[in-house]
Every structure is written in structure tokens, then in C-alpha cells.
Symmetry: C2
Subunit: 307 residues, 2 copies
């Protein structure tokens, strides 16, 4: 079998053919590697949100004390210790207060009225709020249950005028890009009749900003990593209690989740890498003549099913 | 240039060499395609949790009324409509109650005391609770803010003895598998000295179970899909308000997230496919001589940073 007579083209151009095949397979290999990286990144992103769900599906997720494990494997394979000692003693429940049926009905109805008066507010007065009230509100949020009692939250409270201005500048810069570059022409047109834009005046008007960070993981006294079970859900539950505390105190807020600003705000506020901004709440009094969208809430029948 | 004299090996075995290279690039290509699929799957998983975050990064995530978009594209490419009309009127904020600084300090301190008395409870009395109290509690949870005011929650309340028994059976079956099959030998050994196992007596003892479902998406009156922005965070925030309401009413609960039982419980309770079980709360009175783990909470300094 002679290459010259069988495939004269291949005989003359074999280096080109081989080079072509080599180039092709290199390109395929490169694309492949790149995809692996992307997949890895996406997976890590999910894992970071809840390392345990992915790897340890059998862990009981009950709050505060159901998980006593001392040594569990991190997603990276590193050994990490749990938040709770294995010999944690149990004590009588002394903080419980029992009420009569009548009292319970009255108390639950009164709390419903309080909470039902809550509205998300976008227009703030600059009137100062006593710091002690904000301290009580943060303390209240800290009473929330959390996966394995890890308390995976950090509340950054900004009352300083200059720091509020910096926060506002960072968010508005990012929002302006969101509005002008990241959205298509159709969207720009659609949003024109609406009053919302990238200017967030409330970020400097409200006397306080509360930035709620979740801790994706924590650290033990010896520096080893501590697994934060269900950190995202735990922090959101704590935020619900925080909103209730703000309402109870007679203040108003706006539940917002600043897009794309998390890392910049974390740097500005000196928070470590294990923390991620989840929610930003301006807190204060409503502006005079404050208006709210004319919304109603679904009735009980629509949000519940009874057995 | 002659192939025969330059590379005698290649001259004799060129078909093998080409076949080898072709096979290699095919394998690389196959692996590449497979990775692309995996990546796509992971991405879809994230997208499902919050379709908008991925595709519409420019959307303002503020609650209740910041997003007025009428027609946005679903991840599937299907057109879906928003929850709010574009011409939603704004009305004066009439539900706000202003308190003095002194009152605010007192109210916030009192609410902190109330919430700080809350403990996660695992041992329940079977004593009945007035249904009206549970209704008020669910109504209160329904006052939570939510992405674009979509109210993406369903509270399934189980007071019926037989249904509670079915829920318990489903969960215990799954938990037994978790304990006996899904965990390794090391884990089985580690958990032996602990009192927790797959038996969840509280699921039939507590007078009520509240199962909190998130609606991953909703439906408009015309049957088209409705996007539920930030549904997971919204439902967790609502759960925080629910926990506050339970505590305020004088009842106790256990914040649990049953693993692997979601679809079975959804079927049992007749919930549709767009709903996903997030949290299960037994609600009632603590058992006599109820004990709790001896836990303390982080102080204010540890959970907050002030500017």
C-alpha cells in the first residue's frame, strides 16, 4: 500500500492534515477545559450557599441542637468541627409563659394588627432615631433559630453620614450600569413611564442603614472552619424577625437586595470573605406625605390549606 | 520531501496514526459535550430557584412595587406577566403609628424580651390549641414583604389526627433511610450516644403542624405563568414573622426542614407542582418538664458592626 498512489493529496499535504487535526483537537480540548471550569464555578457557588446539602444529604436539618456532630468533612475535604459540643447538657425550659385561650386569641390578633400595618416605605425623613432602639432591634434579630445554632449573621449598621454617602455612591453607580448597559432597549423603554431609576435617595436620608450579611461558613476558636448549615434560610428567617422588630418599634424600612454591589460593599465595610451581603434595610421614620403603592394582601383562604 | 524516507514509521502506519488522533479528538469532544450538559443542568437548577436573577440581572429587586414589568421572558422563553399593573396608584401611608423616643425604646426592649424567651422545643403536650390562634398566626405570616409583592407562600395546617399520622409515617420512613442507609459507618457510630434518631414523636403529639411551601412560580388569571422573584428568601422572611407570631401567641415550635420528604408530603397534602416544601413547624404547648439544650446566644457586639 503506497500513500503516494492511493492518496496523492495526503502524500503531498500530510503535515497540513496532521496540523489541522491537532489544532482541532486542541481547540476542542481547550473548550472542554473551559467548560469544566465554568461548571466547577457554578457548582462551587451552589456549594457555598449550603455546603452540607450537597454532600451530606443525610444530616438532620433541625435547628439549634439536632446536629451535634463533632468532626464532619467540608466540601473541600478539610476536617471541620461542629458548633455544639457532643455533651451539651439539657436544662428545664424556664422562659416559657403560658396564657389562657382567651389571652392567646387576643395576643395573636393584636400582633397580626401590628404586623398588618407594616408597609414597605421608599420615602424617609432624616429625623434621627435613638441608637438604643436600633440596638434592641438587632438584638431581637439575633434571637432567631439557625441551622445547628450557628447564628450565621452579621448586621452592619451605618449611621455615619459619610459612610452612608459611600454606600449610596457604590449602589447608584452599579444601578446606573444596570439601567443603562445591562438592560436592552425594550427594557429601557418599558421602564421610562415608571418613577424608579438608579437614584436611591433613601440611602442617605434614612438615619440608619442595616446591611444583613450571611456567613457562608464560620471559624472555630482554633481557626478551623465551622460549617454553617442552612445559612441563607437562617439569615432570611432572622430578617423576618428583624422586620417585625422594626415595625414593633414604630419605624419603617424597605426590604431590598442590592444587585452586584455585594463584594464592593463588603470591602467598603471591612467584612471578611466568608460573609455575603443578602439584604439592605434603610431604617427610620416615613417622610411627611409619604405614599405607598395601593396594594392589598391575599386573604387567609388564599394562602392556606387546612386539614 | 518524501514521507517514506523522512518518517518510515508514519509511512507504514499512517492510517493507525490518523485513526488514533481521530479517536482521541472524538473522546475529547464527547467529554466536552457531556460537561456542557452537566453545566446546563446545574445552571437550570439555579435558574429554577430564581429565574430572574440569572437572566435579568438588571431588574431592581426591591420589594412590593419596584418591579412593574408587564411582560418578561421566562427561562423557558415563554412569555409571563408580572404581578402588578403598570398603572398601580400610590396612596397616602395611613397605617403608620408614630411613637415618642421613650416609647420606641420601651417597645423595642419589650419585643426583644418576648423574642429572647423563644426556644426551639422538641417535646409537646397534646393539649388542643384554639384554631383561631393558628388562623391569626398564619394571617400574620401573610403580611411579610415579597419580591414584586408576589406573596409566594402556601401554609398547609394539619390538625387532623390521621393526616398528622400520615405525615409522621412519611417523614420517619425517610429519616430511617437517612440514618441507616445514607450515612456511613462512622456517622452511625458517632450518632449512637446522641438521643436523636428517626422517631419524631412531636409530629403526632403537637396539636398542629404547619407546613410552609414556597411557590417557585405562580399563575395569572389567564393561566399564564407568573414569575415569583426571590421566592425562597421571601418565604424564609415570612417564616421569621411566623415564628415571632407563634412566640407572641404563647405557643412553641421547632423550625425543621424535612429532608427528601418534600415531594411525598406535597402529594399527600395535594399541593401542585409549582410548590416546594421548605419548612415544617409543629405548633403547640411544651410538654410538662420539657427540657431544652443549654445554649446561649451571641451578644450584640459579636453579631453587629457599627459605623
Amino acid at each position: 500500500m503506497s500513500l503516494e498512489t492511493t492518496f496523492p493529496f495526503l502524500y503531498n499535504y500530510w503535515p497540513h492534515v496532521i496540523a489541522l487535526i491537532a489544532t482541532y483537537s486542541s481547540v476542542v480540548y481547550f473548550v472542554n477545559t473551559k467548560n469544566q471550569n465554568t461548571e466547577k464555578q457554578v457548582e462551587n457557588k451552589i456549594k457555598k450557599n449550603n455546603p452540607v446539602i450537597i454532600k451530606k444529604k443525610y444530616l438532620s436539618p433541625d435547628q439549634e441542637a439536632e446536629v451535634h456532630d463533632d468532626e464532619i468533612e467540608d466540601v473541600d475535604g478539610a476536617k471541620i468541627s461542629s458548633a455544639l459540643p457532643e455533651d451539651l447538657p439539657h436544662v428545664p425550659l424556664t422562659t416559657y409563659k403560658r396564657y389562657s385561650d382567651k389571652e392567646m386569641i387576643e395576643r395573636s390578633a393584636a400582633f397580626y394588627d401590628d404586623m398588618n400595618n407594616r408597609r414597605t416605605v421608599r420615602f424617609y425623613s432624616s429625623e434621627p432615631v435613638p441608637k438604643e432602639v436600633i440596638e434592641n432591634i438587632i438584638r431581637t434579630a439575633g434571637t432567631a433559630p439557625s441551622g445547628a445554632h450557628t447564628e450565621p449573621w452579621t448586621y452592619v449598621v451605618v449611621g455615619d453620614k459619610d459612610v452612608k454617602a459611600s454606600v449610596r455612591q457604590l449602589i447608584e453607580e452599579e444601578e446606573e450600569i444596570n439601567y443603562n448597559k445591562r438592560m436592552g432597549v425594550q427594557w429601557t423603554t418599558d421602564l421610562m413611564p415608571l418613577k424608579t431609576n438608579w437614584v436611591k435617595e433613601y440611602l442617605t436620608t434614612a438615619p440608619y442603614l442595616i446591611l444583613v450579611f450571611k456567613q457562608a461558613y464560620g471559624f472555630n476558636p482554633d481557626g478551623t472552619k465551622k460549617n454553617h448549615y442552612y445559612n441563607e434560610v437562617s439569615v432570611a428567617i432572622a430578617t423576618g424577625i428583624l422586620l417585625a422588630a422594626i415595625q414593633k418599634a414604630g419605624l419603617v424600612t424597605l426590604t431590598s437586595t442590592p444587585l452586584n454591589c455585594g463584594p464592593a460593599l463588603r470591602t467598603l465595610l471591612g467584612r471578611p470573605n466568608n460573609e455575603k451581603l443578602m439584604i439592605l434595610l434603610p431604617v427610620g421614620f416615613p417622610a411627611e406625605n409619604c405614599s405607598v403603592p395601593d396594594l392589598s394582601r391575599k386573604p387567609l383562604e388564599e394562602i392556606s390549606s387546612w386539614f
